[in-house]
C-alpha cells in the first residue's frame, strides 16, 4: 500500500479529484456565504423562472437562474449537494463497513456464521435494490434517516461476499499459520494479517457504491418518496422542473448535470482505485 500515496495522477483521476474537491468546497461555502436564503420565497412574480445569468428586478444576479418560486437555483443546488454527498458517502461507507465486518466474520469463522451471512445476503440480493428501498420508504416515514438506514441495510451484501471470498483465500497463505504459531490471537491474526490483505476489493466497491447511493437517493426524491420539499435534493429539484421543460428547461437541467458529474467523478475514482490495486498486485 505504501506507493498509493506517491504516484502520478492520470487524466481520469485529475478530473475526479478536481470535481469532488470543487463540489465539497461548493456545498460547504456557497450556502454559507450567499446572502440569499435558498428556502425563503419572496416576491415570486418578479423573480420566478429567471434564465441563467439573469438579473432580477432588485439587481440580484443569478448564476443558474431561479425556480418557479424565485429561489436562486445555484444556491439551492449546492444546498442539495450537501444532502446528496452526505447520503452517498455515509450510506456507502457504513454499508461498506458492515459488509466488510460480516464478510470477514463469515470467511474467518466459517460454520454457522458463514451460512447465516451467506443466506441473508442471498435473500436480500434476490430483490432488486430499488424495490427494497421502495418497500423501506413505503413502510416508514420518507426522510433522510429512513433513506440512510435502508441504503445501509440493502448495500452491504455485495461487499460481504467479496470480503468473504478474499478472507477465505488469504487465510490459506503461509503467513497466517506463521502468525498463529508466533502466538497471535485469532482476532489479532484476522485484524492485522488477513483483513489488510483482503480489503482492497471492498474499498473499490465502496467507492463505486457512493455514486450508486447518490443515484438511488435522488431517484427516491424524484418520485416524492425521499427528501421532502422545501428541503432541496437534486432529485426533487428535477421533479420540480418536470412541467417546465419548455418554459424553463434549466430548472431540471442544472441539478441533473450536477448529479451526472458527481456520479461520474465517484465512478472514475473507483475505477482508478481498482486499476491501481490490480497494478500493485501484478508488481
Amino acid at each position: 500500500m505504501k506507493r498509493l500515496g506517491a504516484h502520478r495522477l492520470d487524466g481520469r483521476e485529475w478530473f475526479a479529484h478536481g470535481v469532488l474537491i470543487a463540489l465539497v468546497l461548493g456545498v460547504i461555502f456557497v450556502p454559507l456565504l450567499s446572502s440569499r436564503d435558498p428556502l425563503r420565497i419572496d416576491d415570486v412574480l418578479a423573480k420566478r423562472l429567471l434564465p441563467p445569468l439573469a438579473r432580477d428586478s432588485s439587481g440580484g444576479w443569478h448564476l443558474l437562474g431561479t425556480d418557479r418560486f424565485g429561489r436562486d437555483l445555484f444556491v439551492r443546488m449546492m444546498l442539495a449537494g450537501r444532502l446528496s454527498l452526505l447520503v452517498g458517502v455515509v450510506g456507502s461507507l457504513v454499508a461498506g463497513a458492515m459488509g466488510t465486518a460480516l464478510g470477514a466474520l463469515a470467511g474467518w469463522r466459517e460454520g454457522w456464521i458463514d451460512r447465516a451471512v451467506t443466506s441473508a445476503a442471498d435473500v436480500l440480493l434476490a430483490l432488486p435494490r430499488l424495490v427494497l428501498l421502495l418497500v423501506g420508504v413505503a413502510l416508514w416515514q420518507p426522510g433522510l434517516s429512513t433513506i440512510l438506514v435502508v441504503l445501509v441495510l440493502t448495500g452491504w451484501m455485495g461487499i460481504a461476499r467479496l470480503v468473504r471470498t478474499e478472507v477465505m483465500a488469504v487465510r490459506r497463505r503461509p503467513f497466517v499459520p506463521a502468525a498463529t504459531a508466533l502466538g497471535a490471537t485469532s482476532t489479532r491474526v484476522l485484524l492485522r494479517h488477513v483483513l489488510p490483505n483482503a480489503v482492497g476489493p471492498a474499498l473499490v466497491a465502496t467507492t463505486l457504491g457512493v455514486g450508486n447511493a447518490i443515484l438511488l437517493e435522488s431517484g427516491l426524491s424524484f418520485l416524492g418518496l425521499g427528501i421532502q420539499p422545501p428541503a432541496p435534493s437534486w432529485g426533487n429539484m428535477i421533479a420540480g422542473g418536470r412541467d417546465l421543460l419548455v418554459v424553463a428547461p434549466w430548472v431540471s437541467l442544472a441539478p441533473g448535470l450536477a448529479l451526472v458529474i458527481t456520479v461520474l467523478a465517484t465512478t472514475l475514482l473507483g475505477d482508478a482505485l481498482r486499476d491501481r490495486l490490480a497494478g500493485e498486485r501484478v508488481n
Binding site: 443466506s119 442471498d122 435473500v123 434476490a126 430483490l127 432488486p128 435494490r129 430499488l130 424495490v131 427494497l132 421502495l134 418497500v135 420508504v137 413505503a138 413502510l139 416508514w140 455514486g211 443515484l215 435522488s218 431517484g219 424524484f222 418520485l223 416524492g224 418518496l225 432529485g235 428535477i238 422542473g241 418536470r242 421543460l245 419548455v246 428547461p249 431540471s252 441533473g256 448529479l259 451526472v260 456520479v263 461520474l264 465512478t267 472514475l268
Partner: protein, 328 residues
C-alpha cells in the same frame, strides 16, 4: 449428475422465494400503524375497527397469521388491495405484461446493441471512436433514467412540435396508446410501437452502456489470450476465430450478465414507467406506496423477487450449454 444439479438449484430457488415471502410478511407487520386503520373511513368507531381487524384476521396469534398468509401466497393469493378492493394477484396480472414487454424488449435490444458496440470498440481499441463510445457509455450509466427521460420528452415531443416537424417525427410522451382512439389490428400495433419508441430506447440505451463496457473488456482479454494465438497459428480464418473462439468464450459471461442485468432493468422501468405513464409494475409500485396500499406493494416486491430468482435459475440451467467446461 446434471439433473441432480438442476434439482438442487431448483430447491435453492424455492427456499429463497420462501425467505423473501417471509421477509415481506415480517416487514409488513413491523411497519408502524395498524393496517385496519388504513381501510376504515375517517370517523369510524372503535367497534368498526375491531370488526375490521377480525375480518382481516389481525386479531389472531402471529404464528397463525403467518401460516395462513404463507399458504395463501403459495396458492397465488396475495391479499386484497386496500385502494380498489380487487385481489392483488388481479392487479398485478394487469400490470405485469406491460412491464415484461417493456423490460424484455429493452433488455434484448440493450444486449444486441451493447455486444455490437463492445466488439466494435475492442476491434478499434484506442482510436477516437473507441474513446468517444467509452465516454458515452460511462455517461449513460452515470445518468439517472428519469432525467434522461425528461430530456427525451423535451426534445422529441415538445421541441419537435414547436419546430413544427412532421407528425411522424414527433413522438408521444405519455401512455401506451393514444387515448380515445379506438384502434384495432395494424393501426393499433403501429400506435403502440410509436408510443414505445422513447421508453424502450431509453431503457435499452442505459443497459447497452453497461453491456458495451463489459463486452469490450471481455473481448480485449480474449484477444490477448494464448488460445487466440493458437487458433490463428493453425490457420483459422478471421470469421472462424471470431465465431468459434471469441464469441464462444463470451457466451457464458453474457448469460451471467443477462441474469445480473435484470434487477437494473426493473429499477430503470420503475422510473421510465413513471415518467411515461405506462401502467406497469414499476408505476404500480410507486402509486401503491404513495397510496399506502401495503398488500399491492408487497405483491409487487414478491413478483419482482420471483422474476430475479427465475432469471438466475435459468442462467444457471443454461450455463452448461454456454460453457461446456461446467458440464459435470
Amino acid at each position: 449428475m446434471r439433473f441432480s444439479d438442476l434439482a438442487r438449484a431448483l430447491g435453492r430457488a424455492v427456499l429463497l422465494l420462501w425467505c423473501v415471502l417471509s421477509l415481506t410478511f415480517a416487514l409488513l407487520r413491523l411497519a408502524p400503524g395498524d393496517p385496519a386503520t388504513f381501510l376504515l373511513p375517517p370517523g369510524a368507531s372503535a367497534s368498526d375497527g375491531a370488526r375490521m381487524r377480525m375480518e382481516l384476521g389481525l386479531d389472531r396469534p402471529m404464528a397463525v397469521q403467518y401460516a395462513q398468509w404463507l399458504r395463501a401466497s403459495l396458492g397465488g393469493h396475495l391479499g386484497v388491495s386496500f385502494v380498489d378492493r380487487r385481489p392483488v394477484q388481479a392487479v398485478i396480472a394487469d400490470a405485469l405484461p406491460v412491464s415484461l414487454a417493456l423490460g424484455g424488449a429493452s433488455l434484448v435490444l440493450s444486449f444486441v446493441v451493447g455486444i455490437a458496440i463492445g466488439l466494435f470498440q475492442a476491434s478499434r481499441k484506442g482510436t477516437r471512436a473507441d474513446v468517444m463510445l467509452t465516454i458515452a457509455s460511462v455517461l449513460l450509466v452515470a445518468s439517472p433514467a428519469y432525467w434522461l427521460g425528461l430530456g427525451a420528452i423535451a426534445c422529441f415531443t415538445y421541441l419537435a412540435s414547436s419546430w413544427s416537424l412532421p407528425l411522424m417525427m414527433r413522438l408521444p410522451a405519455i401512455g401506451m396508446t393514444t387515448p380515445g382512439a379506438a384502434l384495432s389490428g395494424w393501426p393499433h400495433l403501429a400506435d403502440l410501437l410509436r408510443h414505445s419508441i422513447l421508453p424502450v430506447t431509453l431503457l435499452a440505451a442505459i443497459g447497452a452502456g453497461g453491456v458495451a463496457r463489459y463486452v469490450r473488456t471481455g473481448a480485449l482479454d480474449a484477444v490477448g489470450a494464448d488460445w487466440m494465438r493458437t487458433a490463428r497459428a493453425k490457420g483459422a480464418s478471421d470469421w472462424r476465430v471470431f465465431r468459434h473462439h471469441l464469441l464462444a468464450n463470451l457466451r457464458a459471461p453474457m448469460l451471467t450478465l443477462f441474469a445480473l442485468a435484470l434487477p437494473g432493468t426493473v429499477a430503470g422501468s420503475v422510473f421510465v414507467e413513471t415518467i411515461f405513464a405506462w401502467p406497469g409494475m414499476g408505476r404500480l409500485m410507486v402509486t401503491s406506496i404513495v397510496g399506502r396500499d401495503y398488500p399491492v406493494v408487497m405483491g409487487c416486491a414478491a413478483a419482482f423477487a420471483l422474476l430475479v430468482i427465475l432469471a438466475n435459475l435459468t442462467a444457471e440451467a443454461l450455463l452448461p450449454w454456454a460453457d461446456p467446461r461446467t458440464r459435470g
